[in-house]
């Protein structure tokens, strides 16, 4: 394939892998807290965390741009203490992706935890095990299909994002030009042949990912029935 540049794909996958990793580590404790909480803050947090699903990516991208810019306190903080510009940088689109894909990790984890019977947690506590140990040994291993769904959907959703990355990251080769943005640019340059190649790769990718998710869910549901 003449002229094919794999860099946008590698960048997309790197972005997606890191986003997935960060969100998994962040969302497991939050989902765990939410599943056992009766706090009045709970619906507030649930609503806030679901905002990225309903908001246009441009709205999210616009405000993230404002927050990350050197003129905002947060942007200045990162620039002064970490020498890190969050606008038009890989770190910036990573942070934006973590916000944007947050609900796609949190919700499968939360619904998986909801399916663990309360008595299993209580049995573990009575057997002398702490809440953290219960989470790691009893809860997470019993909801592998939810964990897998969260990981895969978050990864795929991050690969598929466009608006937020464009707003916060622009299109800098090797830094923020991920696959979806590269396609946008190819179309603008009227290079339809290459745009087709990139797009078909993403279609094949998305289809395989969703196939895996549905196969896994189907299998675990059958297992539960048996």
């Amino acid at each position: 394939m003449q002229g094919f540049d794999p860099e946008p794909f590698l960048l997309s996958f790197r972005l997606a892998a890191l986003t997935t990793l960060i969100l998994f580590v962040v969302c497991v404790p939050i989902a765990w807290w939410l599943s056992g909480s009766t706090s009045r803050l709970k619906p507030v947090i649930e609503a806030l965390s679901s905002m990225p699903i309903v908001l246009p990516p441009t709205v999210l991208g616009f405000y993230l741009l404002m927050i990350f810019s050197g003129r905002s306190p947060l942007g200045r903080f990162f620039e002064e203490y970490f020498d890190l510009g969050l606008v038009f940088s890989f770190e910036g689109i990573l942070a934006a992706s973590c916000v944007y894909s947050f609900p796609f990790m949190l919700q499968p984890l939360q619904s998986g935890m909801k399916q663990i019977p309360q008595s299993h947690l209580e049995a573990s506590y009575i057997l002398g095990k702490s809440k953290i140990r219960t989470l790691l040994r009893v809860v997470l291993p019993a909801m592998t299909s939810s964990v897998l769904t969260g990981l895969i959907i978050t990864f795929a959703h991050t690969v598929g994002e466009f608006g937020v990355v464009l707003m916060v990251g622009g299109s800098i080769g090797g830094e923020t030009r991920v696959a979806s943005i590269a396609i946008f640019e190819l179309v603008e340059l009227l290079d339809y042949r290459m745009a087709h190649i990139y797009s078909l790769i993403l279609i094949a990718f998305s289809f395989s990912v969703l196939m895996v998710v549905y196969t896994v869910n189907h299998r675990s549901r059958n297992e539960r029935r048996a």
Binding site: P117, S119, H120, E122, A123, S124, Y125, I126, L127, G128, K129, S130, R137, V138, P141, A142, T144, E223, A226
Partner: protein
């Protein structure tokens, strides 16, 4: 004295709110039945002992160690977490961890292979060690739950209707196993049960709960056999119809799903009404009938 339970907890029942109030002492080493109608606070009582539910006030001491104590004056509140109490608990639905094999379920409780082998031997689980809970029968699951709860060598074993989902044969086998475990380990057991034959076979004491209060605290013999009457058998029923032919009077009584027609005398005919709750018994093979009194033990309430 093993167990001192003197607690109060507000409960919200289907027929209004009531408070679970107990003032009990349970000696070491026995098997005590916790009986009573559903919604009378039996399970909550067990959960309070295990630390899964906190009472509002009171005092709970096991073998000289305070597990719970409400704030009172300058006395501080103590409430040991379930992890800090030495209680085993077998849940109604067994609560086995589905992703762990039988052996792993036991080892999760305590990483003690010898103990696990010994308990699997005792409960006949030896050849099921690598099987996952989904592949086990109800009776086998119950054995695993029991063995797992014993892994930490608890001082107190709490069983919440452990055998109610099993058929009669399996029940009987597990009752024998429970007795064997009790004999070998000398552990103090509290068991929630509705089954009067189970109470009779296993327990040395019955706490009968009603609306959060212990209304009877007796031995099974006192509760079931040595009652005020000398009747050989007695059933509770309800009068559906009263008939009179000349001097002969009869009553049609519903006992469970059965209808019985009983001859009554004219004095009884005068005092009984349709819809009355009655006890039908027999003395020397003559059925007798009399009005259901409050001190009669009501089997249906178990």
């Amino acid at each position: 004295m093993m167990l001192v339970v003197n607690v109060r907890k507000q409960l919200f029942g289907a027929e209004g709110d009531f408070s679970l109030t107990t003032d009990l002492e349970i000696p070491k080493g026995g098997i005590t039945a916790v009986a009573g109608p559903s919604g009378s606070g039996k399970t909550t009582f067990l959960r309070i002992l295990a630390g899964l539910t906190s009472p509002e006030e009171g005092f709970l001491q096991v073998d000289g160690r305070v597990w719970f104590q409400g704030r009172e004056g300058r006395r501080p509140r103590i409430n040991l977490k379930p992890q800090q109490r030495r209680a085993g608990f077998v849940f109604q639905g067994y609560a086995l961890f589905p992703h762990m094999s039988v052996m792993q379920n036991l080892l999760y409780a305590a990483n003690d292979r010898d103990m696990a082998e010994k308990l699997m031997e005792m409960t006949g689980l030896g050849n099921l060690r690598d099987v996952k809970p989904a592949q086990l029968s109800g009776g086998q699951k119950q054995r695993v739950a029991l063995a797992r709860s014993l892994m930490q060598q608890p001082e107190l074993l709490l069983l919440d209707e452990p055998l109610s989902a099993l058929d009669e044969t399996m029940k009987s086998v597990l009752q024998d196993e429970l007795l064997k475990i009790h004999r070998e380990l000398g552990i103090t057991i509290l068991i929630v049960t509705h089954d009067s034959s189970e109470i009779f076979k296993l327990c040395d004491r019955v706490l009968l709960f009603e609306k959060g209060r212990v209304v009877a605290d007796k031995t099974p013999r006192e509760l079931f056999v040595e009652r005020a009457t000398t009747q050989k058998f007695a059933f509770k029923g309800e009068i559906l119809e009263l008939k009179s032919f000349d001097a002969i009077h009869t009553a049609v009584v519903a006992i469970g799903n059965n209808l019985v027609e009983v001859v009554i005398d004219s004095h009884e005919r005068g005092s009984l009404r349709i819809g009355d709750k009655v006890v039908i018994g027999t003395k020397a093979f003559n059925p007798t009938i009399r009005r259901f009194e409050h001190h009669d033990f009501d089997f249906s309430r178990l």
